[in-house]
Structure formats: structure tokens, C-alpha cells
Amino acid sequence: MGHYFVRRLLQAIPLLLGISVVTFLLIQAIPGGVLGAYGSDVGATAEDLARIQHQLGLDRPLYVQYLSWLGRFVRGDWGYTLIGHVSVKDQIMAALPRTVLLLGLSLTVGLALGVTAGVVAAVKQYSVVDMIVTTLSFLGLCMPVFWLGLLLILGFSVRLNWFPGGGMYTVGMPFSLMDRVKHLVLPVTAVSFGISGQYARYTRASLLEVLHLDYVRTAHAKGLHPRQVLFWHILRNALIPLVTIFALQLPWMVGGFVVTESIFSWPGMGRLLWMAALQHDYPMMLAVILMFSAAVILANLLADIAYVFLDPRIVYEQHS
């Protein structure tokens, strides 16, 4: 078991390296190159650009550049942004907890709502509740998060003025928990609507497959309380595939998150990446993309590990 974890963890390293190479090369391929960010400066002469190029080590062969960047990155020196010249690492370290907060809350709310709705819909298949859940979850699937976000801001911020339409706290106000919570309501609603829609669909489908299996009938026949059958027999099996779906959906979710943070001016990782992409600020892009990819790889790893605990039938290769 422990052996398996270690091996999977080691496998993640070449994957991350591969991703860093691809990202590095792609960024080199941006027209205007790494200096594109400076190129638009009116005052910059050819000599200036050559000097900057030398300072940044851009006149060296590509693989040398990559290796020296990688060496610095691994040691925790993530460089400075081209625009504004602030530390990439400081900015990321400030943004990361904010993103974790927003994503964590949205996931918790979305999963809790989605799974509950899916279970109810499956148990009462073809009922009114089932129809409502099925319809709502399909809407959640088709609703672009930025439009939902815009409508939420329009309704609850502009019109009703219940919640602020963006940002993380009211500028110039001393720390207040209530204020923070109010700023979270709309973005969390926007993100979790889509998430809960997807999970309601998956949960319902997964439950319906298990619901009529023999062992469930046996459990009922033994005279167990229906609730006991649901929680101890059905859910335990039906919810396992959701773990895989969660890991597979994560890259897509991260993408939606970049957009959400931009709509609600939430100063997290997604917004950092957006600003960096607009300005072609490559040290920031590289670092944020690597962080996102690492998170996705880690989530997949955790999903595989969670499987072992959730489903005793799964045994990864035994080494003699």
C-alpha cells in the first residue's frame, strides 16, 4: 500500500516536468517572445531591449534558459513579474489562500447540494422532485458561469443591493467577518450552481444503477429499515464513481474558476493568471500554470488513494 503511494508520487514528478517543459516552450512561442511585454513601451530602443535581453539571460540557448529557470523555481526563486517588477512568489502566496477559500466553499456547497438532490431524485424517480432536480441540474450544466455571475450581480447587487458585486472586502473598512461573508455569497452561489448540477446528475445516474441490484433487494428482504439500506448499502457503492468524476472534472472546474474570479474581481490565482495572460507576463503565467497543473495532478492522486479506502475490492498490484 505505502509502496503504491510512493510510486504514484514519483510518477507525478515526470508529469510535472513534462508540463513545465510544454508551458515553457509555449510561452517562448508567443510572438514578440518574452520581451513582448516591454516591446510596446514607447521609450524602449533596440539597445534597451538587447540590454534587458542580456539581463534576463534570454540570449542563451533555450535549454539553458529552461534549466536555469527550473533550478531557481525548485529552490523557491520564482522571479519577478515583468510588469511592475514584484515578486511572483509573494503574489501567488497571497492569492492562493483566497482561491482555496472560494473554491473550497463552492465545492463544499456544490457537492452537498448536488449529492443530496441526486439521491432524493433517484430514490423518488419520476416524481415531481425528480423532475425539478433533473431540470435544474441540466440548466446548471448549460449555464455559463460568467452569465450566471453577471445576472447574480445584476439582481442581488445592483437592484436589491443585498450583497456587494465584487472584491473580497469593503475597502477602507476594518476587518469584519460579516463583511467577508457577504462578499463570498454571490461568487460561491455562481460556482456551486454549476457544480451541484453536475453532481446531481452523476449521483442520480449512479444511484439508479445500484438501486435495483440483488444485494439491495436482499437487504430490503432482510427487513432492514429503508433508510439503513440507503445509507449502508446503496450510497456506499453508488458514491464511489463520484470520486473519479471529481478528479476528472477538476481541470474544467479550474478553467471556470479563472472566469469567476475575473467577474467578481476576486483577487485569487485565476485573476492573477488572467492579468498575466492579458499582459503577456511570462514569469507569472509559468508559475500560476504550474500551480494549477500540480493541483490537478495531486487531486487525481488523492482520488486514486481515496478509492482504496472506499472500495475494499480494489487492490493495487501486490508486490511479493
Binding site: 508529469l15 513534462g18 508540463i19 510544454v22 508551458t23 509555449l26 510561452i27 512561442a29 508567443i30 510572438p31 441540466f138 440548466l139 450544466l141 448549460c142 449555464m143 455559463p144 458561469v145 460568467f146 452569465w147 453577471l150 445576472l151 450581480i153 445584476l154 445592483v158 458585486g165 481541470p251 474544467w252 479550474v254 478553467g255 471556470g256 479563472v258 472566469v259 475575473s262 467577474i263 493568471l273 488572467w274 495572460a277 492579458l278 503577456h280 503565467m285 500560476v288 500554470i289 494549477f292 497543473s293 490537478v296 495532478i297 487525481n300
Partner: protein, 305 residues
Amino acid sequence: MSNTAEADTVGSRAPGGTWATASQDRSYWRMVRRRFVRHRLAVGGLLLVLLLITGAVLAPVVTPYDPFRIDMPVRLQPPTAQHLMGTDDLGRDEFARTMLGGRVSLSVGLISVVVALMVGLPIGSLAGFVGGRTDNVLMRFTDMMFAFPAMVLAMIFVAILGQRLSSLSLVIGLVSWMTIARLVRASFLSLKEEEFVTAARSVGASNGRIVLRHILPNSLGTIIVAATLGVARAIITESALSYLGLGIQAPIPSWGGMLYFAQNQLESATWLSVFPGLMIFLAVLSINFVGDGLRDAMDPRHLVR
């Protein structure tokens, strides 16, 4: 449940006609069409898609207004009989712009899926058919591309390739072929063990012939459904990119881009942030209905209710 008998008879063979003689193949597609037509939501979705496409193609005909003409005296007017969806901050007719905006979203959606097929199909079929080392290398590469959040990868590609319609389609295709590659591989892996492939090989069919004539037709159902749902996803990605200012550039209207500009008028002009979003939503919704309908129609085990 009047079609139980029918489902039972077709259920005895794999979708696409495992013993694909010409006549059986034709009858399979006829069945697919019959089952699709019976799927009310799917047909409704298809009609809506066609309506949206017609609107986008005939945009200059269906409205007398020029979507690019600036007319300051009528700026920011709410929807009226003259301006069905109101006017924007430059007095341009929102209805004309929304219709025209459909061209961007719908064509990028379609072309990008063609790109995704052109990349995903060869990779998936090669991995699934050849197997072994080739499979391993190709699938590790696919896994790696999967670990990039598509939106994030698209942002870099946009910076490299530019923000024209053609490059946006290419970008979205290049970040979404992985799903197709995986599905095709899985389908090829199981199909190549089927008896009809062994039979074809034993009569001396070449690998190319086996793939093109025997395996590919049988995975067509999977591919068509994945491609249809892919269009819906591509439309969301395109609108999101445009919304972030990384898509088609103004003044050419696109649904996502219109929403981006509507954000500045959130308080004074509500309608500007409603209609383009509604169009994205309707396009995605209807394409998803079509995709679901196709899936149900092509899977004989599934009863159409």
C-alpha cells in the same frame, strides 16, 4: 414501452451493426433516426440549433439595422418595437449584433470540434489499435495535456496564435481533443478483440482496411455523440475567452465579448447583459439536448420513453 420488442431485437448486436452488411447498416441508421425523431427534447433542440444558425447566417437580412453603425442619439435604449433588444452604449442595434455574434460562437464551436477530431481521432485510434509502447507514449501525452486546465492552456495558445476566428477555433480544438482521443482509444481497444475483426484479418484484410471498414464505423456512435457535446463545450469556452477579452476583438460582435462590454452598463442597461448570455445559454442547452438524444438513439440498450 411499445418499442420493447424492437429494442430486444437490436439489442442482440452491437451498435453500428457488428456483422456489418450493407443492408443491416442502413437499417441501423434508419432505427437511429426513428428513435431520435421520437425524442421530443432532442428534436426541439435540433430545431432551436437550426434557428440559431439561420439567424446567424441571415443576420443582415432579418434586421434592417447595420450592427456596426454608431448612432449616438439612440444610445442605451431599452428594448422597443424598433430595437427588439435595445441599443448599446454606441447606439448600435443589439438585435443585429446578437444575431451576428452567433456567427462567431457557432462557427468557432463547429470548427474547433473538427480540429479536435483531426487530432484526437488519429491519436486515439493509433493508441487503441497498435497498443503496447505506442499506446503508452500517446496516452501519457494525452494525460499530460489533460492535467492542464483547458481554459488555462487556451489562454497561452491565444497569445501565440492570435485572436482571429480561425486561430480561436484552432486554439479550442487544440485544448479539447483529449476527450475524443480517450473515447476512441477505449472503443478501439474493445472492438479490436471482436470476432469480426479476427474474421477480417483471417481473410487477409490489411490493418488500414480493418480500421477504416470494420472498427471505425462501429465507434462512429461514440464519436458523433462526443463531437456534438464537444460543440456545446467549445461554445462555452469561446464565450468565456471573449468575455475575458481574449477572444474575437471589438468591433466584431461575439456573445461573450458583448457580455464583457455590458458589464460597464450593468446599472443603466440591464438588457445588454441579458440577451447575449441568453443566446449562449440557448445554444448550449439545445446542442446538449441534441447530443443526449443522439446518445439515446444510438444505444440500443436504452429505451426511448
